[in-house]
């Protein structure tokens, strides 16, 4: 018996030697850990040039998972345990309120000069600003925008629609004119996910819906307007027929493939759609143009935040500044087409050569609106996703959906 246990212990010990010990802390230069986007080559290059400029700081890079929920889980687990193993991280534009109210992120106002602040597109910085304090530095911009078939609009002598009514009207004109059974007027990502909530919010705002939370922190979401927005989405699919009746099963890939096959006139999508729609495998290459959504589009993108539990906040802030600087953003644009957040990239005078299309992005970016600066945003959004999906999949009427939405949101924030 004793022999057996001894054997096991030896084997286990051997295993642990084989598997390698844990990481150790070293003295000397400050080492900060950065949880960033999984663009490995790009991030490594930026880190290398940062380290060259700041010999006292070493940066340890950890790639975050690609799915937004998994990222949130990873980061939350570290922060909830008040771990010091993460100093600075890349956060989704809809998260800051969660971290700020939990006291997990450090305000960065002391580290940024007014010039730096003024360099950002206002709307991009607004996603990381709560009560006048800035908690994050955006390094990658994104927004829900309206894409349109320029060739079809000019064929019928139409201009870019400014309201959802105009989208409906123009779609009908074009669909009737083309008489192609595969052609639809308006598409969006209809599967139950965050983008659906963003699409819903743009319609809700266009119909006059107020922010989720006002400046005094009161919940001001308007259920009446929400019902109208759902009514609109439903009627566009079923009554008017300008959206496919199957829109509720359209994920990003399906939507984009249909746009690229020339089956959709207008569509609501993120900025990353631009390169696909105008890429080589697209049959509408060169004629898919971008404009601002009616009224406002939801803010997306990423920013850098510094953990409140970091032991090297100054070094972390320094890195955050560097990662969102012109130099880094230029590199990111060149290497992986990351959309920059600084005004200088969008000015026709100063736009980098070869990236002139960025000028067209300024219109949607300048009407970008934070989805909801409330610590309960994630929960509210997932209720919106469920109810919007139920409406466009013909499972509930808008009235029923709004009733369930109100009950759901109340149970979340109550």
């Amino acid at each position: 018996m004793r022999k057996a246990i001894l054997v096991i212990m030896i084997m286990l010990a051997a295993c642990s030697v084989f598997a390698g010990g844990s990481s150790e802390k070293k003295d000397g230069p400050v080492t900060i850990t950065y949880y960033g986007r999984p663009d490995v080559e790009l991030e490594r290059e930026i880190i290398a040039s940062f380290e060259a400029e700041n010999p006292g700081i070493k940066v340890n890079y950890v790639e975050l998972p690609s799915s937004s929920n998994d990222r949130l889980k990873t980061i939350q687990t570290v922060l909830q345990s008040q771990g010091t193993e993460m100093d600075v991280f890349a956060g989704d534009a809809c998260w800051p309120a969660i971290f700020i109210s939990a006291g997990w992120v450090e305000p960065l106002d002391d580290y940024i000069t007014p010039e730096v602040r003024g360099g950002y597109i206002d709307t991009m910085l607004s996603a990381y600003t709560v009560n006048g304090r800035t908690y994050g530095l955006p390094f990658m911009a994104d927004v829900c925008a309206l894409y349109y078939r320029d060739d079809l609009l000019s064929k019928y002598g139409l201009t870019v629609p400014q309201t959802y009514d105009e989208i409906l009207e123009y779609s009908k004109i074009i669909m009737e004119g083309e008489a192609d059974p595969n052609l639809y007027g308006w598409g969006y990502i209809g599967v139950q996910n965050e983008t659906l909530a963003c699409c819903f919010l743009s319609i809700y705002w266009a119909l006059g819906g107020p922010d989720m939370v006002n400046e005094d922190g009161e919940f001001t979401f308007d259920y009446g307007i929400a019902e109208k927005a759902l009514e609109l989405m439903r009627s566009y699919s079923f009554g008017e027929g300008i959206s496919p009746a199957a829109i509720g099963s359209f994920d990003t890939t399906t939507l984009r493939n249909n746009v690229m096959a020339g089956n959709i006139v207008f569509d609501t999508d993120w900025l990353s759609g631009y390169a696909k729609y105008n890429g080589d495998s697209s049959s509408v290459k060169g004629s898919m143009k971008i404009a601002a959504l009616p009224t406002n589009g939801a803010i997306g993108g990423w920013g850098l935040m510094v953990s409140a539990y970091s032991e090297h906040k100054e070094a972390a802030a320094k890195f955050a500044l560097y990662r969102s600087s012109y130099e880094s953003q230029m590199k990111a644009l060149e290497m992986v087409d990351q959309v920059p957040t600084l005004n200088v990239f969008y000015d026709p005078e100063t736009v980098p050569a070869g990236y002139e299309y960025l000028v067209d992005f300024l219109a949607p970016l300048s009407v970008a609106r934070p989805r909801g600066i409330t610590p309960f945003y994630a929960a509210i959004s997932s209720r919106i996703q469920i109810e919007a999906s139920a409406v466009i999949c013909d499972m509930k009427t808008p009235a029923e959906a709004v009733k369930d939405l109100e009950a759901g949101i109340n149970s979340v924030i109550g």
């Binding site: 018996m1 246990i5 096991i8 929920n69 949130l72 889980k73 939350q76 909830q80 969660i98 109210s101 939990a102 006291g103 997990w104 209809g190 599967v191 139950q192 996910n193 496919p244 009746a245 199957a246 829109i247 509720g248 099963s249 359209f250 994920d251 890939t253 399906t254 493939n257 249909n258 610590p375 309960f376 994630a378 929960a379 997932s382 996703q385 469920i386 109810e387 999906s389 139920a390 409406v391 466009i392 999949c393 499972m395 509930k396 369930d404 009950a407 759901g408 149970s411 979340v412």
Partner: protein, 291 residues
């Protein structure tokens, strides 16, 4: 001697018991503890507030919880039942000497070896609006339009169950196979001499003898089916309209995405209680195993 044997028994049990206590029991107790508190990440500064059974009261009046609950039960019942039948057939096949047997065994196991996320992506492509199922159907003369398989409540549910059956049947059949392998072949030889047919042999020899393994297999499949997460998240993300959201998906998003640790813990504990109730049905057949 007897005393020494008893001590030896405990010693042998110790490694497993210790590992389980430290790494599962303590965290589980913490989860149960949290379920009695109003504890949210949004109010981490305010700390935890004891609210007794309030979270559980809320669970009972939470209509979305009941939606996810019944769906979880249906999902579990349907998938486990079908996986059992198909798994048994496959296991029987795997005991037969047929050409290419090794390859068949290995291929059969691949779906299960595949990460659930990848499996979910593949199946969502197959059921997509422009996917293969619609391609096949569009060849039929009476099919006019592509069908939104994942955009309709009942077809999305069926699609998710098909994907789960595809993925988990190998697990079932491998475990059943391990049970079939302990059956002494002489029983069958004797039965054949007695003139019992295949069907008779299956019901009077195979089933009773494989029953202990089968019951445990079913039980563990039920437990893991009730906790299904990755596969459905990758396929439908719980949609359309929340109809494919399972209890564990709801608990996990409440806990992590909504940051409501107290309520999320209560939802997990509910799942635990349901699993305990289900496993009680199996206790009788399980008791025999240590006697």
């Amino acid at each position: 001697m007897k005393r020494r044997k008893e001590v030896r028994g405990y010693l042998l049990l110790a490694p497993a018991a210790l590992l389980i206590c430290v790494l599962i029991l303590i965290p589980t107790i913490e989860t149960i503890y949290c379920s009695f508190f109003n504890y949210r990440t949004q109010m981490a500064a305010l700390g935890m507030k004891f609210i007794g059974l309030e979270n559980y009261v809320k669970v009972f009046s939470d209509s979305f919880f009941w939606d996810t609950f019944w769906w979880t039960i249906v999902f579990t019942a349907v998938t486990v039942a079908l996986e059992l039948v198909i798994g048994m057939l496959l296991a029987l096949l795997m005991t037969k000497k047929i050409p290419g047997q090794g390859l068949i065994r290995a291929v059969v196991l691949v779906p299960w070896a595949m990460p659930a996320i990848v499996a979910g992506i593949i199946w969502s492509q197959i059921f997509a609006y422009n996917g293969f199922i619609n391609n096949l159907l569009s060849a039929l003369p009476f099919v006019q339009e592509n069908y939104p398989w994942l955009g309709n409540e009942s077809s999305a549910k069926v699609a998710v169950m098909i994907a789960d059956i595809w993925k988990n049947t190998p697990y079932m059949s491998l475990l059943l196979l391990s049970g079939l392998l302990t059956i002494n072949k002489e029983y069958y030889e004797a039965a054949t001499i007695d003139g019992a047919g295949r069907w008779r042999q299956f019901w009077s020899i195979t089933v009773p003898l494989v029953r202990p393994t089968m019951m445990v297999t079913i039980l563990f499949r039920i437990i893991s089916a009730m906790r299904v997460y990755d596969l459905i998240v990758a396929m439908t993300n719980g949609g359309p309209g929340g109809s494919t959201t399972t209890v564990s998906m709801y608990a996990i998003s409440t806990y992590f995405t909504y940051g409501n640790i107290g309520y999320g813990s209560a939802l997990s504990v509910m799942l635990l209680l349901v699993s305990v109730v289900i496993s009680l049905f199996f206790v009788d057949s399980l008791k025999s195993r240590v006697r």
